[in-house]
């Protein structure tokens, strides 16, 4: 099988290389990242790209016009699927940052459905119709493509629509990036994928009898591959050890594969084919273990960094406790003698007092967070009167609520079961919830704290008519240090740790903390506690 470098040969070499690259990348991503969010659309995309490329390659290799045309029909199916999976990838990538609406979902669905319809037409083409892929007039080592069928234009249109639509989603993702590096990365993916598909799309021209700058189309796939590599790197799936192993294995695969292809005797093909298969299987195992090793190393490093961070926080917060106590006590003493102060001085002392209180909460929150991270946030459970606890803790905010003009209602059911809980910890969780409810509810609003029996356990709800959370904020409510933009506006100081700590405490009791909210109308947090917390080690 000698290769002569006419246009068909160049096309076959190009598409063969693409097939090889797409397959190895699909395999690599399948091994290393199929459980990651973007891993699946990536390996699916590369998988269908390899269907397109392998059958396009076979088109040039198989004997006979009929068989060659069939190969090309399957290859064209791969193009339809590639356009679809490109959109699938773009949708999931965008979903990382943006919760897009029903319209986009419906458009996606419409495009997938039309892709399925085109696939059905192509299957029919395999069985003799010539709707999309027409007749092949010349042998494939001469003809770059069969004739275009009457509906081939529809397929080209479909490819264009998919490219534009997925390009739009990628551009949207680039705009919605959280910082400049995130935006730039999304932009790089947008450019390389969209330009890659557009350039690759010029390879439709031979179907209509002329070849538009063949080289231009051939750049398309490498750009596409670049995008893939870029995503791999972006998701830190690539490190030096893995890359070296990959390069070694891929080279081995390429060499043995082409050796097999260029073999002239059946005996040599057996030997080289066997070698290629062995290299393929062993290579997959080797890659897997290298990837796993790299992952384990990365996780260890992340754990070490996390530990250093939390140790630092714990030490810093602890060191701050003494000066903060001194500050608070100084202001306490000053406030006691407030009658002797001028009005201006009194106002200053009150402000200082409040600032020192805030600082205390901040330092305590940081210390709790550090202890949580270090696994030193322990619980001492005992049977207690939960009703009294809730009443006392909510009662702490009565004065503040009154000053703000916020109504604070507390109701405790009579039939609460006896439950075991850590009073100190649970107090803190309830305080955090009531504090937020009062803090983020404007004058004239209402905060309701209700405690009632719920099956075997107890349910405590803290409901307010305050600012609530925007849809974007809702997924981040329990994140460490997260604060909603309106919350920051309303009350600039606050650690952003209160809800994180509250959730940790409730879960430490074997319970659940959930919420429902409507932006501008309020939020409702629900604590569900079992009668018995989990046994502590």
């Amino acid at each position: 099988m000698g290769l002569h470098f006419n246009p068909a040969d160049i096309q076959s070499i190009g598409i063969g290389l693409a097939a090889f690259l797409a397959t190895v990348l699909a395999v690599f991503i399948f091994i290393s990242a199929r459980h990651e969010r973007l891993g699946r659309p990536m390996w699916v995309t590369l998988g269908v790209a390899s269907v397109w490329a392998w059958f396009g390659f076979l088109y040039h290799l198989v004997p006979g016009l009929e068989l060659a045309r069939d190969m090309r029909v399957v290859s064209v199916m791969g193009i339809v699927w590639l356009a679809m999976s490109q959109l699938y990838f773009a949708g999931i990538y965008l979903g990382e940052r943006v919760q897009y609406g029903k319209l986009v979902r419906r458009m996606q669905l419409a495009i997938y459905s039309f892709g399925a319809f085109l696939t059905a037409l192509l299957v029919a083409d395999l069985f003799g119709t010539r709707l999309i892929v027409g007749k092949l007039l010349f042998p494939a080592d001469v003809a770059l493509a069969p004739m275009a069928g009457p509906l081939f234009g529809v397929l080209v249109g479909y490819f264009v629509v998919c490219t534009i639509f997925s390009g739009t989603l990628l551009a949207w993702r680039a705009r919605a990036g959280i910082d400049s590096s995130d935006r730039n990365q999304a932009l790089a993916l947008f450019i390389s994928m969209t330009v890659g598909l557009t350039l690759g799309g010029t390879r439709f021209t031979p179907w209509y009898g002329f070849d538009f700058y063949p080289l231009v189309g051939d750049i398309g796939f490498p750009l596409f591959v670049f995008a893939t590599f870029y995503s791999i790197k972006r998701y830190h799936l690539l490190n030096r050890e893995v890359a070296a192993a990959q390069l070694f294995i891929f080279t081995l695969w390429t060499l043995s594969f082409f050796r097999f292809l260029l073999d002239t005797s059946a005996q040599a093909m057996w030997v080289d084919g066997g070698f290629f298969l062995a290299a393929l299987v062993l290579g997959v195992f080797l890659l897997r273990s290298v990837v796993m090793e790299a992952k384990a190393q990365r996780e260890l490093a992340a754990v070490a960094v996390e530990r250093t961070k939390s140790e630092f926080i714990t030490i810093a917060a602890h060191q701050l406790r003494t000066p903060v106590a001194a500050l608070r006590w100084s202001f306490n003493l000053l406030a006691e003698g407030r009658e002797q102060l001028s009005e201006k001085q009194r106002a200053l002392v009150d402000k200082g007092n409040r600032a020192a209180d805030n600082m205390m909460h901040l330092v305590n929150d940081l210390l709790d967070m550090g202890h949580i991270a270090e696994g030193r946030f322990t619980y001492a459970f005992a049977v207690g009167d939960l009703g009294d606890t809730v009443r006392a803790e909510a009662g702490l905010f009565e004065d503040v609520a009154k000053q703000k003009g916020v109504a604070l209602d507390v109701s405790i059911a009579d039939n609460l079961p006896a439950i075991r809980f850590d009073a100190n910890r649970l107090n803190l969780a309830i305080q955090n919830l009531v504090d937020n409810a009062v803090k983020y509810t404007a004058s004239g609003g209402r905060v309701t704290v209700a405690t009632e029996r719920s099956g075997e356990g107890v349910r405590i709800t803290v409901q307010d008519t305050g600012i609530g959370f925007t849809p974007d904020e809702q997924s981040r409510v329990f994140e460490k240090f997260f604060r909603g933009s309106r919350a920051v506006h309303m009350s600039p100081d606050g650690s952003g740790l209160g809800l994180f700590i509250a959730k940790t405490i409730i879960e430490g009791h074997g319970g659940r903390l959930t919420f429902s909210t409507e932006e501008g109308k309020g939020a409702r947090f629900t604590i569900s506690l079992p009668t018995k917390p989990p046994a502590t080690p």
């Binding site: 602890h318 406790r321 003494t322 903060v324 106590a325 001194a326 608070r328 006590w329 100084s330 306490n332 003493l333 006691e336 205390m360 330092v363 305590n364 210390l367 202890h371 030193r376 322990t378 619980y379 001492a380």
Partner: protein
């Protein structure tokens, strides 16, 4: 000045500002006060001044508060002294340790206002005053 019928309180605190603030506040409440800055000073004062009540910090130069507490409670001559731990160590394990060694109450300094500290001292003393009187 000092109320002869009130308890004699030993404040063991190494931070000068904190001990000054405590002294200022408690003095105003008519308690009879003694001060110590280190564990060694505290033990010496326990022998010499025979306090009724002790506000004890844990992290001290030299012998730490837990050790001071242990020695005070081991000595039959001083074990009647009511000890309130006043520390910034707030871990449950620290609290448990203090209680096991015989402390009457464990207060995390930063979490209480000065008045709350005094109230806690009063409450504890009221519980023990008859024995000491």
């Amino acid at each position: 000045m000092a109320d002869p019928f009130g308890p004699r309180i030993l404040i063991v605190e190494d931070d000068p500002l904190l001990s000054e603030l405590l002294a200022e506040k408690l003095h105003g409440e008519k308690f009879d006060l003694r001060m110590a800055r280190t564990g060694e000073e505290a033990l010496e004062s326990v022998k010499k001044d025979k306090p009724d009540l002790m506000l004890l910090d844990i992290l001290l130069p030299g012998i730490d508060g837990f050790e001071v507490l242990k020695r005070v409670k081991e000595d039959p001559g001083t074990k009647h002294i009511v000890v309130i731990i006043l520390s910034n160590l707030g871990q449950q394990s620290d609290i448990d340790k203090g209680t096991q060694l015989g402390a009457e109450k464990y207060i995390v300094k930063v979490s209480l206002t000065l008045s709350e500290v005094v109230q806690a001292v009063r409450d504890v003393w009221q519980k023990h005053a008859p024995q000491a009187a």
